[in-house]
Amino acid sequence: MATRRDYFSRKVHSLLGVIPIGLFLIVHLSVNYYIVDGVESFNKAAKFMGSLPYLYFLEVTVIALPMIFHGVYGVYYAFLGSINTNRYSYARNWMYMLQRFTGVFLVIFIAWHVWETRLAKLRGVEVNAEMMQNIVDNPLMLIFYIVGILSATFHFANGLWSFAITWGITQSPRSQRFMSYVSGVVFLALSFVGIRSILTFAGIL
C-alpha cells in the first residue's frame, strides 16, 4: 500500500516554517533591533537571550531540529520543481521561483551565520555588538547579510501565504488575495527591522 510520507512531510514542513521557525525569525530580528538604541542596549538584550533557562534544550528543539528538517526537506522539494517562469511569467509563478531560490540561498546563509556567531560562541568568542560590527565592517559581508535578511523575510512572508493554502485555511481567491497583502506587509515590516539593524551595525545609519 502506498504510504502518506509525502503528505505528512509536506504539511509538517509548511507548519514548521511558521511555528517555530517564523516566530524565531521575528524574535531574532526584534532582538537585533536593540542596536538602534545603542550598543549597550543590544548587549543587554543579547545577554538576556543567552541566559534563558535550559538554553541548549530550547536551541535544539525550537531552532535547530525544525530548521534542519525544514531545510533538508525544503531543498529536496525545491529540486522536484522545474522553474518555468520564462514561459509562464505570472506573478505567483515568480513567487514560486523566488521561494525556492531564497530557500536554497538561506541554507547557505544560515549555515555560515551559525558558524560565524553561535558556533563561534562555543569556540570561546563572546557574542556581542562588537562581533557583528566586525563582521559587517567588510562590505562584501554586509551585502551577504543584507541579501540573507531579505531572503529570510521574503521566504517567511511568502511562506505564510502558501502555509495558509497548504493547510486549507485560505480557499477562495479573495481570501488568498487578502493573504498576499498580509504577506506583503509582513515582508516590508520585517525587512525594515532587519535592514535598519544591520545598517546600524555597519555604522551606516
Binding site: 503528505y7 509536506r10 522545474s82 514561459r87 505567483r92 514560486y96 493554502i165 486549507g168 480557499q171 481567491p173
Partner: protein, 266 residues
C-alpha cells in the same frame, strides 16, 4: 496549384516541432499555408496534410496530431501554440502572431509530432475514484437532492475535459515529482460535493493523501491562469488541502475512523 487570387493573399508561416516516434530526436520543420479567412490551427494542419510539402518545397510526412470534437470540449487537441498550452481547435489563425509555432506538450510522452499520451490523467482519475457509483443489485431509489447554489459551482468544475493544459503549465508536474496534477484534485472536489458521490468522499481523500497525490503542489498557481475552461483549480486544491487535513485529524483523533462524511461539508 496557383490561382490568380493567391497573389494578393498572404501565406501563413508555421514552425512546427516534430518527432517521428516516442524515442526519436526532435526537429523543427517550417511550412507555409495559403491564407483563408476564419482558419484555425487544425484547418491549417489539415491543409498541410493534404499537401505535405515543407517551406523549402521538399516533400515530407504529414504532421500527426490529436483531435476530436473541434469545439473545445474534448481536450484532445491541446498543444503548445506560440509558447502557451491550449486547444488547437479554438486557436484562430487571425488572432495568432506569425510565424505560428507549434510544439507538443512535453509533460506527457510524445507519441509522434504534436500527438501526446495523456494516459497519466486518466490513471489519476481512476486513482481518486472520480465517479459516482450508483449500480446495485436492486433499485436504490432517487439520490438526495443538490442545492442550487452548490450545483452552480460544481457545474464549473464539471467542465474539466482532461486536456492536460494545467499539468503542462505546472512546474511540479514532471519526471522527478509524483504530483498528481491539478485536474484530478479538482475532480475530487466535484465528486465529493455530489450528494451521492459524497458517500465515497473519504476514499477519494485517502487516495489524494497517498504518495503521488496532492502533497507536492507548490502553489505556483499557473494551472488556474492557463485553464481554458476557467476552472477555479487553486480553490479546489486549497479545498482538498482542507478536506484532507480535517480527514486526517478525524481519523487520528476520532472514534469512527473519520467516516462521518462531514469533512466534505467543511
Amino acid at each position: 496549384m496557383t490561382t490568380p487570387m493567391q497573389a494578393d493573399q498572404k501565406d501563413i508561416r508555421f514552425i512546427i516541432e516534430r518527432q517521428d516516434g516516442p524515442d526519436q530526436p526532435t526537429y523543427t520543420e517550417e511550412f507555409t499555408v495559403p491564407y483563408r479567412p476564419n482558419m484555425n490551427v487544425i484547418s491549417a494542419l489539415m491543409e498541410i496534410r493534404r499537401n505535405p510539402v515543407n517551406a523549402n518545397g521538399d516533400k515530407t510526412t504529414p504532421i500527426n496530431w490529436d483531435m476530436n470534437c473541434l469545439e473545445e470540449v474534448c481536450g484532445a487537441c491541446s498543444m503548445i501554440i506560440n509558447g502557451k498550452p491550449r486547444q488547437s481547435c479554438t486557436a484562430l489563425v487571425d488572432k495568432l502572431e506569425q510565424p505560428i509555432r507549434l510544439a507538443p506538450m512535453k509533460t506527457f510522452p510524445v507519441i509522434r509530432d504534436l500527438q501526446v499520451d495523456r494516459q497519466r490523467m486518466f490513471d489519476a482519475l481512476k486513482k481518486v475514484k472520480a465517479w459516482v457509483p450508483i449500480d446495485g443489485t436492486y433499485d436504490l431509489g432517487p439520490g438526495p437532492r443538490m442545492p442550487e447554489n452548490k450545483r452552480q459551482w460544481a457545474y464549473e468544475l464539471s467542465k474539466c475535459m482532461t486536456c492536460g493544459v494545467c499539468l503542462e503549465a505546472c512546474p511540479n508536474v514532471n519526471d522527478k515529482s509524483s504530483f498528481i496534477g491539478p485536474a484530478a484534485i479538482s475532480q475530487v472536489r466535484l465528486f465529493n460535493s455530489h450528494p451521492t458521490g459524497a458517500f465515497h468522499a473519504e476514499d477519494r481523500l485517502e487516495a489524494l493523501m497517498e504518495d503521488g497525490g496532492l502533497a507536492q503542489c507548490g502553489n505556483a498557481q499557473n494551472c488556474v491562469e492557463v485553464c481554458p475552461k476557467g476552472i477555479p483549480l487553486t480553490t479546489s486544491i486549497a479545498a482538498m488541502n482542507r478536506q484532507t487535513t480535517l480527514h486526517s485529524f478525524k481519523s487520528f483523533f476520532g472514534s469512527d475512523k473519520g467516516r462521518t462524511g462531514s469533512a466534505v461539508e467543511a
